[in-house]
């Protein structure tokens, strides 16, 4: 490892612009003649749109246009799509209702847009929106998943009778029943995985600019995957052919999944910019984010785990109801199925698993992938079950886990996944040592003497990341491939540009991706730049989500680097009159091994571009590209242990210690990896203690601002004690597993296991607010 190579905690190249106020986010961009959009959104959870009167608004100063849902339908802009087909257990395809970008006839959640005002300024657009009169006929609404599937419940879509999108199963039901019939003990648990609002700090925004002469659109948007956005906008929404649509995702202020999807607002901005003949900008406010950014989680699950007399797991049965909200968002269908139920084996040898997942429409904001996406729900369920089992079976929870760990790899689970490698004992040991697990009983006794209820909770998570082999996801219903692309351009003066299909919205790619180049060529990272987020600059790529940018995106860069290096070595060998096989690359030079003969990278690059003296038949230039498709998912795993105290008088939880031992395979930049873990842990802790996107029975959102939705703040959370154990991922040449989601996947179970340990119950729903904890303590 060089000082800036793989494994070095290099400070980030991109930071200077962010700490000096020079970041360039979508809302920072102004175009000449730009107009501003303000959406008129339904205040009702379910209603017929009987009429829209915009006559008064159109007379107001600065109003350019008022456009409605009917107009967008008339212009044949396509409905929003769901890109992952799921088949129900009866063989029928999932049942979906149409989702137009603005509702022409029926609104199905509070916040759904029915019209948009385009005006000279943002304030004028808002003023005019107040003057648009929408006549609604309210319909009965349903927000709760169980209420939605009852007979007589309000129906959302005629295409989906009973509000049921699908009833999907995985695993072997017969084998699982047989396993349960042999059980010495069965542990049962009902859990709710609370609905969350992703809340990237930068609200979504879009600027659309139509060039009538070229019939060409440019869209600046807050996207994690600008190429996928262009593909969907072109292929499904009929906005423009791909070569007539440039999508730019500049600096993006966090995503966490919520900026994967292509939302109505971007579509409307594009369509409207052509309609009004001027650029159109829309910047959401925080309440719009709560109402329209895809929410996460929202599962209701009953699970049973069967054990033999030696406390070995025999089988697992799971039934989950997943709330999809009012429409099927882009990848929503895959989240409670292939991203959730395929991880239900956890870190354990479970011979038989059967899971059923029922997807349900409700009159709420659509639900889709949010940091972890299905895997937090699986991990939470399994780890709550293991803790509950340990209490019921009266064994130490660490020991129960250890005695059921998978220790032989590769390991084929009964739910599709084939774990390639891991060492679950190593991460459990590391975490137990870090928190002094053996000393806990003494600490608990001392806390008790001080009047505090102290608890400890474990969470041994596993996730499937780096998604994934295109062939595999295609066979499971995905509408896209999940490879990644890269291009390496060595300029004639020897500086290097890496064009990547990955997109950084906080992950530090501008630094870590350069570190790979520094590692291989021995050049300083200052000589390397990363180009991403612009479909006109970068070849087609799949973007950043699912902890895939290092495992898949960086591997694509490696593949392109290898091609480039191979050509450069030929050029160097030719110039040095040596054999190509004798050329090694060190410190920015191509050397003939065992001699002092060398040629520096800039001279090789210059030779490639002057082309005066290249090997016979070689093309000029030094630029290579690669598309990399992994052979398997990656399987990051680890153990989190939380120790905390509960004040029985107030129900308030205080952290004593939180340790995390993760196995992410090879780390490129440990500082950045740890930052990813910190952030994920706090999102998991936020889910456990604070966050809940709540609807009342009529479908009105109760938590639509930071005044009502409890975001984790600095004084709600502890500092963390992190460590790493390492098994290198065999599925990619760098041995990387991915680190972006682990914290959010593993943390919430550790917290709830610790609180329930402290207060002596197995039943406590998230978020474990002081009120809820106090009531639980005092209900006994």
């Amino acid at each position: 490892m060089g000082v800036e190579g793989i494994g070095a905690s290099v400070v980030r190249k991109e930071d200077k612009r962010f700490i000096t106020g020079k970041g360039r986010y979508v809302d920072d961009i102004k175009l000449l003649g730009m107009t501003h959009a303000h959406f008129i959104r339904s205040p009702h959870a379910h209603a017929k749109v009987k009429g829209i009167d915009s006559s008064a608004a159109l007379k107001m100063p600065g109003v350019v246009a008022v456009l409605t849902g009917q107009q967008i339908v008339d212009d044949k802009v396509g409905n929003l799509i769901c890109g992952w087909a799921i088949t129900s257990k009866d063989g029928s395809p999932m049942k979906m209702g149409a989702w137009p970008a603005m509702a022409p006839e029926t609104v199905r959640f509070v916040g759904q847009a029915v019209a948009v005002v385009i005006a000279e300024t943002k304030n004028l657009a808002r003023d005019a929106a107040e003057a648009v009169v929408v006549n609604y006929e309210e319909l009965p609404a349903v927000a709760d998943v169980h209420a939605a599937i009852k007979s007589g419940a309000p129906q959302l879509h005629p295409e989906a009778p009973g509000n049921q999108v699908y009833d999907w199963v995985i695993g072997d039901e017969g084998a699982t029943d047989a396993a349960f019939s042999k059980a010495a003990n069965v542990v049962k648990l009902d859990v709710t995985n609370n609905r969350l609002a992703p809340n990237a700090m930068e609200p979504r925004a879009a600027i659309a600019d139509y060039d009538a002469a070229e019939e060409h659109f440019t869209l600046y948007t807050t996207s994690q995957n600008p190429h996928v956005a262009r593909l969907v906008l072109s292929a499904f929404y009929n906005i423009a052919p791909e070569h007539k649509l440039r999508v730019i995702a500049p600096d993006v202020g966090g995503g966490f999944g919520s900026k994967i999807f292509i939302y109505p607002e971007e579509m409307v901005a594009l369509w409207a910019s052509k309609k009004v003949g001027r650029p159109v900008k829309w910047t959401g406010d925080r309440t719009e984010a709560f109402l329209t950014d895809a929410h996460g989680r929202d599962h209701v699950t009953h699970a049973e785990m069967a054990f033999d007399a030696q406390n070995k797991i025999l089988g697992l049965k799971v039934k989950t109801y997943a709330n999809f909200g009012a429409y099927m968002s882009l990848f929503s269908s895959s989240v409670p199925t292939y991203l959730y139920a395929t991880l239900l084996s956890g870190q354990y040898n479970i011979p038989a698993i059967h899971a059923e997942v029922i997807g349900v429409y409700t009159n709420t904001t659509p639900v889709d992938a949010y940091r972890g996406a299905g895997r937090p729900e699986a991990s939470y369920l399994i780890e709550r079950l293991m803790e509950t089992a340990a209490r019921q079976l009266k064994v130490d929870p660490a020991q129960l886990r250890r005695s059921n760990f998978i220790t032989q790899f590769p390991h084929q689970t009964p739910v599709i996944m084939a774990y390639d490698i891991g060492d679950f004992n190593a991460s459990l040991d590391a975490a137990m040592k870090a928190i002094d697990y053996a000393g806990f009983p003494a600490r608990k006794a001392k806390a008790k003497a001080d009047g505090k209820l102290r608890g400890i909770g474990l969470s041994c998570y596993i996730e499937a990341c780096g998604i994934a082999p295109s062939k595999a996801v295609g066979s499971l219903g995905a509408g896209v491939g999940l490879w990644e692309s890269a291009e390496v351009r060595v300029n004639p003066v020897g500086t290097i540009e890496i064009l990547t299909g990955s997109h950084s919205h906080g992950q530090g790619h501008e630094t870590t991706f350069c570190q790979l180049v520094a590692e291989r060529l021995g050049v300083p990272i200052s000589q390397v730049s990363i180009v991403h987020g612009d479909t006109d600059k970068v070849q087609f790529g799949m973007g950043t989500y699912g902890s895939r940018s290092a495992a898949v995106g960086l591997t694509a860069i490696l593949k392109a680097m290898e091609k480039m290096e191979s050509k450069a070595k030929k050029i160097a060998a030719h110039a040095l009159e040596a054999s190509e096989a004798d050329i090694v690359i060190e410190n920015g030079e191509f050397k003939v091994t065992g001699t002092d003969k060398a040629i520096a990278l800039p001279m090789v690059a210059l030779a490639a571009y002057t082309a005066h003296n290249l090997p016979d038949g070689m093309e000029p230039g030094l630029k290579e590209s690669a598309f990399y498709d992994p052979t398997n998912f990656t399987f990051p795993a680890g153990t989190y242990i939380c120790e905390l105290e509960v004040d029985s008088g107030t129900g308030k939880t205080s952290f004593v210690n939180f340790v995390a031992a993760d196995d992410f395979g090879r780390l490129i930049n440990p500082m950045i990896v740890e930052g990813q873990v910190h952030g994920g842990l706090v999102q998991g802790i936020g889910q456990a203690l604070l966050e809940h996107a709540i609807y009342d029975a009529s479908g009105q959102p109760v938590t639509a601002s930071f005044m009502d939705y409890a975001m984790p703040r600095a004084d709600d959370v502890p500092s963390f004690n992190l460590s790493h154990t390492t098994t290198l991922c065999p599925g990619n040449p760098l041995g990387i597993k991915g680190c972006g989601e682990a914290g959010a996947i593993g943390a919430s179970a550790a917290v709830i296991n610790a609180i329930t340990d402290a207060i002596g119950t197995n039943n406590l729903e998230m978020p474990a607010t002081p009120d809820r904890v106090w009531r639980t303590i005092h209900a006994a």
């Binding site: 700490i19 609200p203 975001m711």
Partner: protein, 161 residues
Amino acid sequence: MSTVKMTVNGKAVAVDVEDRTLLVQLLRDHLNLTGTHVGCDTSQCGACVVHMDGRAVKSCTMLAGQADGASITTIEGIAKGDELHPMQAAFRDNHGLQCGYCTPGMIMSAIDIVHRHGGQLDEATVRTELEGNICRCTGYHNIVKAVLDAAGRMKVSQAAE
């Protein structure tokens, strides 16, 4: 419309704005100082924090007119040329930022925190004081480290002056 006169990052400015214009709108839309961000509109997240006459204020929660005659410092105005403010440097060196959106407000709040506490800070105090600034990326761990680090650096640089 009114004319608001103020000093922004050391320069005198006079801007004609609608009376309802917020200070953050004046900075972003009229002066193109886009380092100050809007994250919530309800005075909760702190992405919009700037200094008014040396004190941290949330620029999304006051009218531009309320800053008439004041001296405003934004994230763009705290470095001395190429020399970063110690708080900026500490955020970079401690990996106290990821997506960067909350960062300008965090840095402006953090400078104010150090000033108000005379540099005498511990982790609990920093965490309590950061209550009005929300970050979704970092989990605060490295932000807290950065603020504590910067408190030390600011003491040293003050002593040197």
